[in-house]
Amino acid sequence: MEKPRLSRRRFLLGSGAVLGVAAGPRAARAQARRGHIIAGLSERMLTLDPANHYSISSTSVLRHVYDPLLDVTNDDKFVPALAESWKPVNNTTWRFTLRKGVRFHDGTPFTADSVLFTLKRVRDNTKLIKSFVYQDLEDVRKDDDYTVTVTTKRPFGSLPAHLTMLGMLPPGAAGNEDAFFGKPVGTGPFRFVSWTHGDHVDLEANAKYWKPALPKVEKLTVRFIPELSTRAAALRAAEIHVIDRVWPDMVSTLRATPGIKVLDTPAVEAQRWHFQLAREAGKDPRIRKAVSLAIDRNTIIKELLLGYARPVVSPIPPGLIGHTNLGQKPYDPDKARAILKQAGYQTLTLDFVLMKDLYPKQLEIAQAVAAMLSEVGIKVSIRNLEIATAREQRTAGNYDLFFSGWAHMPHDPDWYFGQWFTRAGAEKLTRFSDPRVEQLIAEGRVPDPKVRQQKYEEIEKILWEEEPEIWPYYSVAIYAISDKLRNFEARRDYYVLLHEVGIA
């Protein structure tokens, strides 16, 4: 029998292990954190200011640098982040108890002052993109260093949800914001290192992160690669480890590449094509009903989206507060024809406006819808317009049906209802106006989740019956990752979050 030889490499490895054990848990933790993850995101990051954007890519990057008060899990549960707990004191007052012992990357402690600064800044500086959401804040008061009371002008039940999207800033940023956002500090799992505009952001692990044993890797780079085919090529060439916003027709190519996994999950997004309710076609509920009956949603899902979408059973996707199952809308072209005939419509033309290249397969889907509607005698004229122009046309009311989707971003439907189904919100959009719905939306703004669920169910029943919009399908979020990634979660909200992800 051959005698086992102790090579130099083995000897060094062995002695390293002995030293590692001797150095205790700190060294073990440091050993656990290793590697460099490179993500490729579809949208370019525009700013390092967490209050000044609603971009999903920017949120994905900045969530690693800044922590919000609350987080939302992939199953739509609101969980503590920098706030350990929160509760409504009454319908217009929220109290937040903050986590102790958290420090910003520059060593300053996170306290109530940070919350006061962040919230007052976003409310008072109306140049900030997120400012309009926080206009209902009446006052933000510091009860002690770790307790904050927020009072609002009217019930603001979705405040905790919105706060999941607002990273907390150190009060020291006041007065020199330009310099601060040049090299920002947060309390997040990664520290900001550098940003090559239009190309990538480099982050490094925050070794003193308040969540133990996180992050799992030393370095994180986020590259911005807007073209899907380029993003996919970079992943296939093993240059990056994860990509977002994969389209259904790219899935088979990626699946066929060794070392790549494709993950998908039902998104918090519902497609909704809204009618212009002040124009002839949209105004008549019989036409809306006929259009709805003439669209074969299952064929769109199966044939055009290759199964990467879910049938809709209510305007709010499953998992979110307010969701209820009202059953799928039927496909019945005969009934559609009968309704139109009864209503006396011989020829009808619908102006279907699309925002160019915004949603996967949208033009093909619109063409299929045009064919389906022509079967029942409705002629569809598709106008595929550049985004800014399409939105301008919508404001002017020059459309019958508008192709759009709605991602319920803070995992809460209040924003959707408030914007699209109140008179003030819909005035320059769909021209929707229904005092019953408006009343229910106002009543559903309270913090009590039971009341909210009940009010939202009532709203949805009315909308389901009236059909001011066509809800063709719930979207599915598709990601592709390297099989070296460990613990990656395909998020419903399209975020790419990597602080709990390791790499082999």
Binding site: D199, A233, R391
Partner: protein, 306 residues
Amino acid sequence: MRSYLVTRIWQSAVTLVGVSILVFVILRVVPGDPAKMLLPEGAPQSAVDELNRHLGLREPLWVQYGIFLRSVVRGDFGQSFQYRSPALRVVVERVPATIQLALTAMALTVLVGVSIGIVAAVRQGSAYDYAGTVLAVLGQSLPNFWLGIMLMLLFGVTLRWLPTSGFHGWQSLVLPSVTLAAFPTALVARLTRSSLLEILGQEYIRTGRAKGLGEPRVVLRHALKNATIPLLTVLGLQIGTLLGGAVITESIFAWPGMGKLVVDAIFFRDFPVVQTILILSATIFVVINLLVDLLYTVIDPRIRYG
């Protein structure tokens, strides 16, 4: 010469003011609301109005232009709507990537294009000539996006010799610059060939050969120099175009250059960025044109201005 120069500089200044007015007015006349593009789809109209007020878009057009002109003179091109930082800084950050790509593509164009052109002219009718013609036809007819993706799939994904995309190191420059250079190289090759052929038929070339000059000296020294004039015009225009950004190539290779920046800025109605880029590229164009015209006098002493 001096009076010619003064006239040309004066004309250039007028051109640039004209460009700035045109850009300013066109941007504001086309449909599309910048605040709406910045805010999420569900922002209330009051937020849209408030943001437009902050962006200075509620003033009358001539007041906006006056403010803009006054700031430009001070070197301030306004704040980018999208990036929330000075437009000039946003644009200047893209300059290194744009220049690297443009110059590399230009160098490839000159080296490869002129070489192919010379060989094809000198060996007219040979296999080299036909090969050159085929390459030139391919270079001019293959669309950039197709060529770019094919190169990326071959050298990036399959062979893994070069990075597929991005802006890091010389390796990442290879595929985009080859893609970008394909068209102008073909153009230059054909142009070099045809103008060289014309000159090689001239009597002074025969004289040169008759007095015993070596062929390389005849071609490179006597013929090529005279064939350079039309070439310079084309190259000048190409440099201007390349520096203005190469939208398709930049999009395919996720190259952080000016072309993609301006297209995105147009889509998102980021007026200050569009204005900055267009005014800067117009300036570059005007200056290069001026330089090319002056360069003629150096290369061909018979050309005189004034």
